[in-house]
Amino acid sequence: MAHRIAGLKHISNALATPDQLSNSSSSIDGVPSELETSIRCAGAQLTQDAGVLLYLSQDIIAQAIVIFTRFWLGADGGSLRIYSAKDVSAAALYLSAKLSFQPTSPRSVLNAYSFLLSPQASPLWFVNPQGTPSQPPATDCYILSEGSYQAGRLVLLRIESVILRTLGFDTHVALPHTIALTYLQTLGVNNPSVSRRILEHLNAALLSPQLLYVTHQPNALAVAAIYLATRENGVKLVDGEWWEVFDVDREELGFLVVGMQSTEGFLRKEKKTWKGRTVPLVTDEVDAEIERRRMMEEGE
């Protein structure tokens, strides 16, 4: 039925198998699935912010988030009780940058993470629930000492190897961003606010709890973002099932549109659920959180 064309690998991705989606190493280790979702989402945001601090371009950051997401999937994936989400985030970002035209150094990566993970200085709500301090924080709460750098560097490089082995060295990540803009041109839309909105949707989808980037091909993500963005901006597209021209069927489009629209609500809910608390990004914290939940359950 559907025909295959060789040479499309560079715009397509490896996708998670049903088995990988229904079993995770973390859940086998007793991490509740909604906790896993929260940590994965926080880790993705951490990666995004670190990438911005490092002046990395968004394609590198997005690739890092996809690699980060893939790492935790499946019984053969990484477990949150063995690997700290913050380390995997840093190594994924370092790895993606290394493969790009914009490599960065272990020191830069560790400096960025040291700042973002500082409970006093961090602007991230899930690390520093008080919010960005109004006064510039004391530098010693986020400056990386030489000793911590050396230790952190070893961890960074070791986790890099762990990621590579877990993913079978498949580091290829195709992104929908450029595909979406090409499709948009094909559709004859020349509207900067639509283009911007498309990129916003695509970047937000990186944080989706439905793991859209590891379950759908980039062309489908691109089409869904175009669908949403044009509708939100009141831009009329051609009549007809234009998405089929881009090899997306209505069902997949519908699912992705729902998924992309729900991301905002999910993040709001996360923020509310974790109000005043930090999301555990280190194995010890994960253990403590699981223990806390167990105690609460017993107390009830």
């Binding site: 198998t17 790895l95 272990p106 890099e160």
Partner: protein, 477 residues
Amino acid sequence: MSASKSRWAEDDPETEAIVAQRKREKEEKRRAKAEKQRLLEEASKAQAAATTPADPTSPSQDINGDSGPPKKRRRLSNDPDAPSGGGEISTSEGSKKQSSLLRFPAGEWGPCRHVDNFERLNHIEEGSYGWVSRAKDITTGEIVALKKLKIENAPDGFPVTGLREIQTLLEARHQNVVYLREVVMGNKMDDVYLVMDFLEHDLKTLLDEMREPFLPSEIKTLLLQVVGGLEFLHSQWIMHRDLKTSNLLLNNRGEIKIADFGMARYYGDPPPKLTQLVVTLWYRSPELLLGVDKYGTEIDMWSIGCIFGELLTKEPLLQGKNEVDQVSKIFALTGPPNQQIWPGFRSLPNAKSLRLPATPATSTRNPPLLPRSRFPYLTNAGLDLLSSLLALNPAVRPTAQQCLAHPYFREDPRPKPKEMFPSFPSKAGLEKRRRHHTPEAPKHGQDAPELDFAGVFGGAPGGDAGEAGAGFSLRLG
């Protein structure tokens, strides 16, 4: 509801039965609907120009209407009974069959297996980027080539060259590119092996062992395959950057495959700044030698020219002792560059020190034909192709695609069918091979050397003393 309908859930064996049933129901509904549409269509045909109101569910209508997500069970926006402007998109039958949709190749990922799944048979070769041995897959009994990556003293973690090699090989699935089956690991963190299809020969060893060069028809078959593989790589935005005869593998069925992607990388348009320290010296293009930092796939085409020449004569075409000597060997073959045949070469970093003899009035041809005396048995079309591949000006070199369309490959003798190709005893499979004296590919991370080309045409140090002052004398044999 949406989760259970996503594309991955359909593959879940546990819900297979439910999904199958649902599919059947859907199929029935679809059929009923198609029938209904058919009837409607007939009806609408009868009414010819009857314009029906626009379908309320089309996405453009959603702007003003509901802001909710499109519902799964909603009718199609371009039901064929509503004559829409998208006539060129919608199918005339109005069937919702998705048969026209392209399925993207979706791979999977999983953890690396252990190298103990392979039994090592014999050592083949040590290259600049790893050790290669012949091995047997213990479970399937298949013979494979096992390449251990060199990872020692890597201050930046896993070497980027190794990562690129894996990434590009995984993507470059083509019959003329060596097939990377998987990556396996050893006990230590830095034991990483590439498992590839085993091929009996490499072209370099074969040329060394052969008494007579390949026949013209065989050369065409080989070259077509190499350029075909390269054309695919370039179409996938991959530059090989280390093409040479020892990186071309040949099996006993006349198939040749491009191997060793240790230097390969993705490129962009416009070309990004890249290291000039690529490609083994004898196959390195003049613009790289002159220090260009933005280059493209033309450097691979130059290497193809060198390989073409080597196939013709059985000897590497341009065996420079060092960068400076390489440049003089190139100019001795092609003639010196001038503004006419290579505009702008003077502004390349290493061209400053280049002292060229006063250029004689050259032919109007660009690129100029190579001396016929060097390739006495080559046809005119062949010489034309070789001359264009070995054009000093990278912009003049043909792309891989243009190369494939060259008349040389269509004139007699025609390329020999692969099945008719002679077979040879395999060095890699059986005996120890002797080491070649091919210079090694430049190491990643080296600093680009400061080159002084003052001696290329003078008698100054660095040049080949024997050729001093006689840059254009042809040394045959």
